[in-house]
Structure formats: C-alpha cells, structure tokens
Amino acid sequence: MVNFAILSTAIFLPLSGVAAVLLMPRDEEADTVANLRRIGLWVSGAVLCLAVFVLISFSPSADGFQFVERTSWLGFAGAEYHLGLDGISIWFFFLTALLMPVAMVFVGGHIEHKCREYVIAFLLLETFLLGAFAALDLILFYVFFEGALFPMFLIIGIWGGVERVRAAYTFFLYTLVGSILMLVAILVIADKAATTSVPTLMANAEFAIGLQKWLWLAFFASFAVKTPMWPFHTWLPLAHVEAPTAGSVLLAAILLKMGGYGFLRFSLPLFPEASAYFAPLVITLSVVGIIYGSMMAFAQQDMKKLIAYSSVAHMGFVTLGIFSFRQQGVEGAVMQMVSHALVSAALFFTVGVLYHRLSSRLLKDGGGLAAKMPKCAVLTMIFTMAAVGLPGTSGFIGEFLVLTALWSVGITVTVIATIGVILSAVYMLTFYKRVFYGAEREREGGVTDLTAVEFLLMALFATAILGLGIFPNVVLSLLPNFG
C-alpha cells in the first residue's frame, strides 16, 4: 500500500520539470533542444511511472476513494486540499500521464522553435489535468479545471496553424464563460451545504429541487462546452484544426473527457433529481450531436476537422450513456471515454505523421499511401475500425454497452444512435479510402513510412485499443457500482 502522498507528488512533479527548463539556456541549438526533449520525456515518464504504480495499487473491491490526501487550505471559503481517486477518475488520471510523453516526443522533430516554452506549457498542462481528475474538493477542482485553460491557450496560439489566434481566443473565452457560472454554483453549494468536499456532498447532498435545477444548469453550462455537446461545440473544430498535433492529442483525449467526467462525478451524484429532470434534454442534444457530428465529419475536406467532428459524435454516446441512469450505460460511457481517448489520440497522431510528410491536412492530398506507408496503413486501419466501433476494438464495448442501456430508456433514441454508428463507418471509411487507397501519386520528395519512434507509439496505441477490446474488464472491473 502506498503511504506517501503519491497523488500530490504526481501532480506537482511536472513543475519540477518546469523549473529545470527555466534553468536551461535560451538558445535553439540542437543540443539544447535535445536536452529539453530529454527533460520533457524524463519528467513525464516519471509521472507515468507514478501513475502506473497508482493503477497497480488500486484495489477494485474497496469502496470510496483511495490515495486520499486531505489538509485544510482555504478555510475562508470552506475549501480543502482534498485529493483521491476512484474507479472512474483513476483511468483519466492514468491516461493523462500516459499521453503526455507522446506530446514530448514531438520536441525537436515536429516542433523546432520555442521548444522551451513548449515543454513548459505541456508540463503545466499536465499538472492541471492530473489535479482536476484527482481533486475531491469543488473549489480545488475548479482551480485545476480552469487552470488548464491558459497552457492550452498558449499551445494553440503559439504552435498552431494559420488561424491559431482566433482558435485560441475562442477556446479560452468560450470555456471560461461556461465555467464561470459553474463557479457561482460551487459557491452557492458551499454556502448551502457548508462544505465543498465531494465525498461528503455525494453522500449527504439534499438540495431543494428548484435550487438543484439551477445548480445543474450552471454545471451543465461548463461541462456541455467542454464535452462538447451540440450546440456548444463550435469551438472544437477550430481549436483542433489549429492546434499543433500534440495539442490536438491532449485536447481530444483528455480535455474533452473532463466534461464527461464532470457530469459523472458532479452533476449526477450531487443533483440526482435535477439530472433526472433534464435527462430528456441531454439525451436529445446527445443524439443530435451524434447525427450532426457524423454528417459534418463526412462533409469535411480537412482530416483534423473530420476527426474533430467525429469527437463530437463519439462524446454524444458518452453523455447518452451517463444520462441513461443505468449501470451498463455509465460503464459504457466510461469505457467509451477511455476508448475515445486512445482512439482519437491515435488518429490525431496519425494525422500529425501524415502532415509531417504531406505538408497538408486535406483529404485530396492523400491517396495511394497504403503502398508507400504500409505500416502506417495497417495501424491506421485498426484506429479507424476502433472509431467505427468494430467488435474486437475498444470502441465497440463502449458503444454496445451504451446502446444496450439506452434500449430500456427508449427505442427511438437507440435506433437513432445506432444509425450514428453506421454514419461513423461512413465517414471513417471514406477518410481511410481517400487517404490510403486509390491510385499512387507522385509526390515531391516521396513519402517515407513510419520512423521507429512513430511506429512504436502507434503500435502501443493499437495494442491498447485491441487489448481493451478483447479484455474490457481491465477497465470495467475497477468501476464502482452506480446506485
């Protein structure tokens, strides 16, 4: 058993990396860049080791939260420094730690200028993301949740594409406006319930239904933007397209999950009656999101935008599962979140690999790559199939569980959502065909297949996706029972 503050160590370890980077020289020599990359990889690797240790030490049968740390912090507002993980948050905690080294790999390769700031920004982001998933106090959660906005703003704005400034602004302000209402709701909870400790609130919260509805709506404003749910999703395609590859990977894999996590951790347990009241609204918006996201994805010419819209569609399944209020539905939602994290990370990574070679993200600039890049083609096929939800991949488990749970909620909804699965096949296969199949084309400088590092990472993604598809119990067994 762990008897030191492992969560705090994992959360604040990246800051030591930031300190190390600040001490490095300011030039952009190859040596310095290589050293920056090493610092980034070592620190995020160390955090990953801690996260693996946490995962292994997690005991599935124990009730409640584990690795709990609790000290008083801001007694004036009733806030405590309270950390802990349960079966849901442990996966997101682990995924964040897992994907950060992926971001560091790009230093020196895809990212050549401002490497110093890059490493600092991603390490800061890691601290905030890890903290958000581990926080068990509402105000502490908010601090980490909002704190992640600024590093992401910088990442999109500095290393992004052509419209990066507009994308960064839209991302920041859109998310901020949604979250600021959540802050007011948190403070009202602090006043009414005299505590902001999540476990206490989960056990004892009894808010009047009228108040509950307002609080639920305020939290919804924040999580709906983050998830993103239709119609609050407009920031996502812009942010994803303009962010650098690593930024997109983290944005899709982790930041989006904060929305789903928020619904699961806060909206449902704290406001059960209001959740039941608003469930039809959420289900409707999710279904619209699935269909709309899928159809928009099909219409895209830019690879990243395609995957961005597919994220909207996939996250629609997540919210459907959560608001089905069935054990299977919630399990499916968590599985879908974990799967989508891996799949979208893998897909954005692939697009990054392709962009590095083709200097374009447009589908029409693809074509015939399967012959030139066979390894990439095979691995991308696995990711594509996972996105579609083919049995055997992790994508299937989540969608299947959600649809099963949805069947008892309403048949129409289930049918429409299943159509969404078909649509996802449509756009993903179109994507794959246009990029990899088709006649071979002459390209300047030719295209090389994956480098060793790229192959390793993509293979790891593929292994994880297939592994979870065949042994989903690895994730599901840790999930708590939902009342």
């Binding site: 300011r26 801001l74 009733g78 601090v143 990066r164 600021i180 007011v184």
Partner: protein, 479 residues
C-alpha cells in the same frame, strides 16, 4: 502631559519631518531635475525614510490599540495592516520615480507627506482628521499628476482632477457640517447613533469618498486623469491612495456605521454592480494601456465592493484582502508598463506590446501572470480574492450580484487576454523598443508576479489576518 501617546504617531512624524526637510533641501539645491540625476538622492532618502517608517509602524503593533489625542486617532487592526501596505506601496512608487525621467526632488518630499497623510487617514477616528488627511492627499496628488510641467496632457489631467476633486471635497465638507450640526460632533462615535440629519450628511460625505475611489458613476475623471498623468503617478494613484481610502471606508462601514447597514447595503450593491459593468465594458474598446488600467481599477473596486456589500465580518475581511492583493497586482502591472520605452520616452499604446514575449520573455511572462491574476484565472491570487469575495456575498444572499460579477469577470478577461495575445502571438513592431530595462522595475515586476503565483500555497493566512483585523473594528467601539 503624557507623551507616551505620541508614540503611536511616530511613523507619521518621521515622514513629515523628513518630507519637510527634503522640501527645504530641494529649495536650497535649486534645480533638482531628474534629467541630470539630481533628484535621485532625494528619492533614495525618501526610500530610506519609508523603510524607517515601516519599522516604526511595525513597532506600533506592539502598542495597544486605544484612542489617542482625545479620540482623534486610533490604531485598529485594519488600519495597522493598511499602514504596512501603504508604506510599501509608497516605497515602490519611489522606485518607479527613480526609473522615470519626470520627477524632481520636491516630489520625493511630497510623497513622504502624502504617505503620512494616508497613515493618518488609516488611523483616524475623527471625521475632521480624516477630511484633512484626504485633502492633503488630494492636493499632493494633484501636484504629482501635473508633475511634467511642460506637457499639456499632464497639466490638463491635473487641472481636471483638481477641479473635480475640489467639488468632491466641497461635498464632503458640506456633509461634515451637517453631521456636526445634527450630531453634535465629528468623532466617529457620533455616527453610531442613527439620526436623519447625520444620515444626509453622511450621504454627502460618502459621495465625496466615492468620487475619490472612482466608483461608478463617479468614475468619469479616472480614465482621463490616469492617461494624462505620468505613468509612475498613475501607478501610484490607482493603487495606494485608492487602497487607503477604501480601507478608511471599510473602517467606517465595519465600525460605527455597521448599525446603519440597512441604509447603505443596497446603494453599495448598486455601486458595485455599476462599477463592474462599466469597468468591464468600457475597457473593451481602449487602445491606451493607462485608460484600460483605469477602467480595470474601477472594475476591481466594484468587485471589492461586492464583498463589502455582504455587510458581515467575512465580507469585510474578503474586501480587505482583495484590495491588498489588488494593490500589488496593479503596481506590478505598471512596473512592466513603465519598462516599455522607445528612445527614452514611455509609450502607452497597447499595440506596442506586440511581440513583447520575443524581446523580453521574462518581463512578458510576469506581465502575463499579473494580467491573468487581474482577470481572476486560477491558480493565481486574483482568482482566490474573487472567490472569497463571491463567497462572502453569496452567504449574504446577494446571488444575483455574484452572477453579474461572474459574467463581468468573463467579459473583462477578454481585454486582459488581448494584451497577452499581443505579447505572445504578434510580431514585434518594426521600430524596436529600448532594450534597457531598469533592474528595479524588473525586480518589482518579478516579486509581485511571484507573489501572485505563490498565493495559492497558503491562502488562508491572509484571510486569518484580515478576519482578525476586521474583528477589531467592532471591538474598538465596544460592540
């Protein structure tokens, strides 16, 4: 005669003596223009005097709070904390003046007198003493605003401030006369009893105070005066006297006027709401950094008033910490603004911030931290002060006001973000800024931004101090 009671005003006496001495010395020397570095000795002596005064003020903490000079002065917890901050703020102003080209030796002397006046304001317990302190503050500020005698903008700003300030002072004096007439005296104790005539007098008095604080709708003078004044004066003006005046208001509202809260709570709510809205929206279109910071300070006073409107100990404590953190945030931001120079002339256009992150990454990072703190982004200090202010207001059932405050925070974030956008995402201007940055200014910027960063580690400490201080307010009137 019991001379021990003079011990409490030793800091003010030190400052006044040094101030008058410097004035005489300035007259003796003749030309104390800073262009030839002749003003530096004055400011250095002023800085040392302020250091001594801070130490003397610290010794005051050992003295038991009690009344002095037959109820003219009393050292309560709030005044004590405020005094530290005021002297520190004035020291930072000295540092700013040492790095700015416009200040003469006399201004150093005036600063010392001003600080003495602010300390008196913070420890006053008699409305006439407070009024005199406010007047001395105002007159010296008029002079500091018009410090550059050959620049039209500064003279215009000084004149504008003088005329409007004189009107405000006249209103205050009229209010005082009503209080004296209906209340029978001008000690704070007179205010404890509710009395219609005293209420009217108080209304005038507080209106005058609201002008000096630049609370909406009495804020109109602020953008023009802040823009016209030399940047160091603007930095000081928007921080230290505002802080001291706010604390004086806090001492009144949390002390003798606490029983009147059913009268002043709603107008305060309205003023807070209006200030936040004005400060958020009016700044959106600004292109001059000093005007933008003027509106931003209107907004911040509005946020602090949200906490005061809660009208309980938690609210007052939250407001106290808010203004304290604001003081240093603001000074830090201006420290960076002062570093922007082209051919030794300060520049004020926001567009000049473009590409600052490339030319000076450390200062740009400090500016980013300070601006994000002003915007209230966690985990910086600016976030915590807003959270506690909102908490206090929610506990007092002012939820609609807090919702407004939250929305205005999001609106204001836009213009703070715009500067960060310019610094990090835009290319530097073709004619580059001066490469030379005075180390002292950089130090101020670094220290204040570090404070913003580290606040989250132990936020409760400030609040414990503040709550203890506010508790003494009621104690000193025997409640």
């Amino acid at each position: 005669m019991d001379f021990t009671q003079f011990a409490v005003i030793i800091p003010q006496l030190i400052l006044v003596a040094a101030g008058l001495g410097l004035l005489v010395a300035a007259g003796w020397v003749g030309d104390t223009d800073s262009a030839e570095g002749r003003s530096s000795p004055f400011f250095i002596i002023a800085l040392l005097t302020l250091l001594v005064a801070e130490a003397a003020w610290f010794k005051l903490a050992a003295a038991t709070p009690g009344d002095l000079f037959a109820e003219f002065l009393v050292v309560d917890g709030v005044g004590l904390l405020g005094g530290y901050a005021v002297i520190l703020g004035s020291s930072i102003f000295c540092i700013f003046c040492l790095a700015s080209p416009n200040y003469k030796g006399e201004h150093a002397a005036l600063l010392l007198l001003l600080t003495a006046a602010l300390l008196t304001l913070l420890t006053s317990r008699h409305l006439m003493v407070a009024y005199l302190a406010l007047e001395l503050t105002a007159i010296i500020l008029y002079l500091l605003v018009a410090a550059i005698r050959d620049e039209r903008a500064a003279l215009e700003a000084g004149l504008k401030y003088f005329i409007l300030g004189a009107v405000a002072s006249a209103l205050m004096l009229y209010g005082l006369s009503l209080i004296y007439g209906f209340g029978g005296g001008l000690e704070f104790a007179v205010l404890a009893e509710k009395n219609g005539g005293v209420a009217v007098g108080l209304a005038f008095f507080i209106l005058g105070l609201a002008f000096k604080l630049a609370v909406a709708p009495f804020h109109m003078w602020a953008p023009d005066v802040y823009q016209g004044a030399p940047t160091a004066t603007t930095a000081f003006l928007s921080s230290v006297p505002k802080f001291a005046t706010f604390l004086f208001l806090l001492r009144l509202l949390g002390g003798e006027l606490y029983g009147w809260r059913d009268l002043w709570q709603m107008p305060l709510v309205a003023a807070a709401g209006l200030s936040m809205v004005v400060g958020a929206f009016a700044a959106l279109g600004q292109t001059n950094i000093k005007r933008l910071l003027a509106y931003s300070s209107v907004a911040h006073v509005g946020f602090a008033l949200v906490a005061v409107a809660a009208a309980d100990t938690r609210g007052f404590a939250a407001a106290l910490v808010y203004m304290g953190v604001y003081l240093f945030m603001n000074l830090g931001t201006f420290a960076v603004v002062l570093c922007l120079r082209r051919q030794q002339k300060g520049i004020e256009e926001i567009g000049e911030f473009a590409g600052f992150a490339k030319t000076n990454p450390i200062l740009a990072a400090n500016m980013a931290i300070l601006l994000l703190s002003m915007a209230g982004i966690p985990p910086l200090a600016g976030f915590f002060i807003k959270v506690t202010a909102f908490t206090a207001a929610i506990e007092a059932d002012l939820v609609p006001l807090v919702i407004l405050a939250a929305v205005m925070t999001a609106v204001a974030a836009f213009y703070y973000l715009r500067i960060i956008n310019l610094m990090y995402f835009k290319p530097p201007p073709t004619v580059p800024l001066d490469g030379y940055i005075p180390k002292s200014l950089a130090l101020v910027a670094v220290v204040t931004s570090a404070a913003m960063l580290l606040f989250f580690a132990s936020p409760q400490f400030s609040y414990e101090q503040a709550t203890a201080a506010v508790a003494t307010l009621n104690q000193s009137i025997g409640k």
